[in-house]
């Protein structure tokens, strides 16, 4: 199923010799960009690895405060969106105009669904005071009614009889990382959805075909990358034993 791309002069910028050179440049450029993204997320992954190595228990506790069903649903949504994205690229390669728009549309909807669920989760964390910072539960002894509330500063001579450390103070690190990682991931999703929106408009106008589908293909690479990030985030954040 291989066929040389028809050089369509209209899409070749002045400084390139031909469409082939142009496409090769775009593809290489995109992969380099993704390599930078790997290292961008890599920095937080590194921090995550160090702290999880140091505080395995606190990370397990923190993880249990996340909503596993919602996380699983979100994983499914993203995997599905990767499929529709791949199909959109394929549709462009085979010049199926309707299918391009349809699959891009699905991808956007799934992306929005993911963000919706994510914001619900965020809201919940906010209510439970699990957002790191001065309001974090473990910094407030007076929130004793909170399950898992524990103070870093109890009154000196107080001697309580019960085990009280449902959530240790280092769990805050877990939530810092949780918010940074999922936040950056969500930001990438938002950007991706924006680009997809632009693509849909262009696709409706019939911009893409077997002769020229570079933007769809590149956006696809980006979208799959964002999906891969989540594939790692999901077990690292939600599935700690």
């Amino acid at each position: 199923m291989s066929a040389p791309v028809a050089a369509s002069a209209g899409h070749v910028a002045h400084h390139f010799d031909d469409a082939e050179q142009q496409y090769a440049s775009a593809e290489l450029g995109m992969w380099l960009f993704l390599a930078t993204e790997v290292l961008f997320f890599g920095g937080v992954f590194c921090a995550y690895a160090v702290y999880r190595y140091w505080y395995p228990e606190a990370f397990a506790e923190g993880s249990h405060h996340l909503d596993l069903p919602l996380g699983t649903v979100n994983t499914a949504i993203l995997l599905l969106s990767s499929l529709t994205m791949a199909l959109a690229v394929r549709a462009a390669q085979t010049s199926e105009q309707r299918a391009i728009v349809r699959n891009l549309g699905f991808t956007v909807l799934l992306g929005l669904g993911f963000l919706g669920i994510k914001s619900y989760e965020y809201y919940h964390k906010f209510e439970e005071r699990l957002v790191p910072g001065p309001n974090f539960v473990t910094r407030h002894p007076e929130l004793a009614q909170q399950p898992g509330g524990e103070s870093r500063y109890p009154p000196p001579a107080e001697v309580k009889e019960e085990p009280r450390y449902k959530l240790s103070s280092t769990a805050e690190l877990f939530f810092s990382l949780y918010f940074v990682m999922t936040g950056l991931h969500a930001l990438h999703m938002v950007i991706g959805i924006g680009i997809l929106g632009v693509l849909i408009v262009a696709a409706v106008r019939g911009a893409f075909s077997a002769a020229y589908f570079t933007p769809v293909e590149m956006t696809g690479l980006y979208w799959h990358f964002v999906d891969i990030v989540w594939v790692f985030l999901f077990p690292l954040l939600y599935l700690i034993h």
């Binding site: 395995p56 000196p156 309580k160 009889e161 019960e162 009280r164």
Partner: protein, 337 residues
């Protein structure tokens, strides 16, 4: 005495100084050799092959080419390996702490050094040490990162918050030398400096006697009562709390199965944030003391807990426990603290 004229080379006042300087001299020689070599080669070649000169300019480098490349790969590689091994070996000695050292507690904060001697005398931005005895500084910061630096001794160590770092040296020359903070720590970083006084042991003893403060052990004992540690940790009392006797330096099994050694860092953490590492077989009911104890007070408590271990003389290491050691000195007068 603190005045010092223009110098080109620092004083050598510790056992490390001559050893570091020897390595330094080696490095200087290697560097001087290569810098001159390159410099002279450039001048020579640039003059000899200047454009106006009539010279044979046909380059014929056959097999010689590979020899040359090999030479200037292998020789630098060999030299750097010498530097590495020499430097690493010396560094091991710098970082392996001696057993029989005098241990001083150092607290760094913006922008001063607070130092306490085992006999109790404490000082600020000054450090008095006896000649010819290994000195170990156990250091912690109250705020940002500092770095304890004694140039005449060629030693330096960063001082971090929430973590003990140790540094040791043995002074070999009586005199007064500089003490600096080497890590940038904020506005008055430049001012966070002082002097180290190296004295004869007898003078040092006299000097120690000049201070009025309580020794850390005694202070720690008082704190132990004042903060109600003794309500739980007293010998043969509460079965729910581990005994602290003979704890120091021993392996402790934690509730997650890990085994840690009860060094200073562990004891500090056990006091300030006990939930982080819970002893196996106990419930995490100990209150969190973070925010209530100053770094000095933690030092005192640690000294006290250390003193609960039976130390055979000379080794400085606690002896293995055969039978429960004697209980805590439950002085009645301290009870109401």
């Amino acid at each position: 005495m603190t005045e010092r004229g223009f110098q080109l080379f620092p004083d050598q006042a510790s056992s490390f100084a001559p050893r570091v300087d020897a390595l330094y001299t080696f490095l200087v020689i290697v560097s001087a050799f290569f810098t001159l070599l390159i410099f002279l080669a450039i001048v020579f070649l640039a003059v000899r092959y200047r454009r106006s000169a009539v010279r044979d300019r046909k380059r014929r480098v056959g097999a010689k080419f590979w020899v040359l490349e090999a030479v200037w790969i292998v020789i630098p590689l060999a030299l750097t390996m010498i530097m590495f091994l020499w430097g690493a070996a010396l560094h091991f000695d710098q970082r392996i702490m001696p057993r029989d050292a005098i241990e001083l507690n150092v607290v760094g904060k913006q922008w001063m050094w607070k130092i306490q001697h085992p006999q109790g005398r404490s000082e600020i931005n000054e450090l008095h040490v006896p000649l010819g005895r290994p000195i170990l500084l156990r250091m912690i910061s109250e705020d940002v990162i500092h770095s304890f630096y004694l140039p005449a001794f060629r030693v330096k160590m960063d001082v971090l918050p929430d973590r003990y770092h140790a540094l040791w040296f043995e002074a070999t020359q009586p005199g007064v030398y500089h003490l600096f903070c080497a890590e940038y720590c904020g506005t008055e970083h430049a001012d966070m400096r002082g002097f180290v006084y190296v004295m004869q042991p007898s003078e040092y003893a006299t000097w120690l006697a000049g201070g009025e403060q309580q020794p850390p052990v005694t202070a720690g004992e008082a704190l132990f009562t004042r903060f109600r540690c003794d309500t739980c940790h007293y010998q043969g009392g509460q079965p729910r709390c581990p005994s602290l006797a003979n704890l120091f330096g021993q392996p402790v099994r934690l509730s997650d199965g890990q085994i840690v050694s009860a060094e200073e860092q562990y004891i500090r953490e056990s006091i300030l944030n006990p939930a982080a590492k819970v002893v196996a077989g106990y419930q995490p009911i100990m209150p969190i003391y973070e925010g209530q104890l100053s770094e000095e007070q933690v030092f005192h408590l640690i000294e006290y807990i250390k003193s609960l271990s039976v130390m055979p003389p000379e080794t400085g290491q606690p002896a293995p426990v055969e039978e429960p050691a004697q209980g805590f000195p439950a002085d009645e007068e301290n009870r109401d603290g």
